[in-house]
Symmetry: C2
Subunit: 335 residues, 2 copies
């Protein structure tokens, strides 16, 4: 199946680049409400599924045992920019279990946000694992292991009991079989599994509605999503898409990006969830797709719809601030 062109980038009056994509919106029963491209294609959710991977932290009782509130739960679901507040929060989570950055197995990298990188360059010799965009998730992993009595060392490995717990959780939510056949290694070294986009979206629809979930999981799911919506800065950071999206309509949009052009969202009031993947892995296209797709579920005459569509279709400026082109979604998202 050919995925349609969903996002165009123009220069002057001419289309300069084109992005193809796939996407689907589902309700809690798994009923497809809208789709484009091939929604049954296998997609690595990458960081878009972090809220699923954080469920054991809550379900195990670790989050309560260590007194974690919205900030800690939000950063456990985050791909943060490595701003000082993110780094401090992840460090404080590790302190609760007597650990520090040396327990994290995610590796280190400078911030991918330019403003934050400049700050880091001026204040750090080099980044450590707490600056990794996944350090909140990994701190949550370390705390879960500590609470459950799992060996912390090696918690990123496919055969570690924490990864087995995460695999079982994600299989149950998505309906997909996860194993060596569809497994790759993520940027932060944990297993990542290619999952049909439909299953990924259905998992988030279950999480946001509670439909088909046992009460403990339904409660944990809502608690994680509500934490992210309450303090969206801790899910991404200053000027980041996930943060801005959750600020547009507080409490009404849960959203999370993933590398290689993935984005998921869940809307508590409408009881739907959605997932998109840009075929070529480009973030700008995934963002415009999810913004436009979410806008479909808000009143066409309202502010939220207008703000979301202004984020989906936006101008591109050059180094002198001159408008040189646009990023815009195509009719494939509205047919």
């Amino acid at each position: 199946m050919q995925n349609p062109v969903t996002v165009e980038v123009t220069r002057g009056n001419i289309v300069e680049s084109r992005h193809r994509g796939l996407g689907i919106v589902l309700d809690g029963d798994g009923k497809s409400l809208f789709s484009f491209g091939d929604p049954d294609a296998g997609v690595f959710p990458r960081s878009a599924c972090k809220a699923m991977q954080a469920l054991p932290l809550v379900e195990s009782g670790a989050a309560d045992a260590y007194g974690f509130g919205d900030k800690e739960l939000a950063i456990a679901c985050a791909s943060h920019s490595g701003e000082d507040a993110h780094v401090a929060l992840a460090a404080s989570m590790l302190e609760r279990v007597g650990r520090d950055a040396s327990a994290l197995e995610c590796g280190s990298h400078w911030s991918s946000d330019q403003r934050t990188l400049i700050h880091q360059a001026r204040t750090l010799e080099k980044p450590n694992a707490l600056h990794n965009n996944c350090s909140g998730k990994h701190s949550g992993f370390v705390c879960t292991c500590a609470h459950l009595g799992y060996e912390v060392e090696g918690y990123v490995d496919y055969d570690h009991p924490l990864q087995a717990d995460i695999r079982a959780t994600m299989e149950s939510l998505t309906g997909a079989t996860l194993g060596h056949d569809n497994c790759g290694i993520d940027g932060c070294s944990i297993p990542s599994y290619a999952i049909p986009l439909r299953g990924l979206a259905h998992g988030f629809a279950k999480m946001v509605t509670g439909q088909g979930l046992e009460p403990l999981r339904a409660k944990a799911s809502r608690r994680l999503m509500e934490a992210c919506m309450a303090v969206p800065f801790y899910v991404a950071g200053t000027n980041r898409a996930c943060t801005k999206l959750m600020q547009v309509a507080p409490g009404k949009i849960f959203a999370k990006t993933g590398a290689e052009g993935v984005f998921i969202a869940a809307l508590p009031e409408q009881g739907v969830a959605m997932a998109v993947k840009c075929e070529d892995g480009t973030t700008r296209a995934a963002e415009s797709m999810i913004f436009a797709l979410i806008a479909r579920y808000f009143d066409k005459d309202g502010d939220t719809h207008a703000q979301l569509m202004a984020m989906a279709n936006h101008s591109l400026k050059n180094w002198n601030g001159i408008e040189v082109g646009k990023v815009r979604v195509t009719d494939a998202l509205f047919s």
Copy 2:
């Protein structure tokens, strides 16, 4: 016409993202030797055509009048990283005509190369126009204007005589009509024109062979390309694709990247030139395409071929240095 998938990005054993592209190889007569996708599609060459835009600097006699050697001519064709040596060289060109950074109309930006950005953050309060990746080209523009007696102010405007000279030069080389209808504004504020990829490649084939060019232009073209091949650091910078490519086989490969997934190359010994565009504008795909396309013109058993194919098909490592996938070209580049 549907552009084929030319580059795949894998994770584990699964293709995670796919890039489509178009490309063509031509000789000096304009005879197509190989193509894929739609080579007649209009493409903004962006920075890939900087060597064409630098022709007036040489043809006008400005380069000789100011004593410019390989370094100055190379940086006039460059999208450099803003390393200290690049900045100093552009400043020295402006000094020859009694100007400084304030004459440049390209705007300012921090380096897009992470290592250089970290250095800049530690040594600068903020970048100026000399740090712009186009500052060498713009310094060449200012010198050309000074030599020809053109008003320097406004040299980026469509109606400025320098831009008219560049337009006439590029029309003659590419065979395309350039005007308001196919004009956009580039990142550095000068006009950029959508040109059929075939015409762009033919223009570089003329430049590298001299075929169909008057002697002055043929000589100026070879002088600019030879300068770039002699000191490729000044065309891009440390660890940059253009620089590495021209270092693989010194004097045998001229190459230049452009924004939104464009790459051109010209091979003096074979008398051919080529141009590729990644449909979605992604640099990683444009790089793999041009590396593989150039490799076709080197002995399959030789070191140059092996090095180019190792650059086209390369592994992706995560933050811990673990190989997690590959970028690889498809059969579309070899059929």
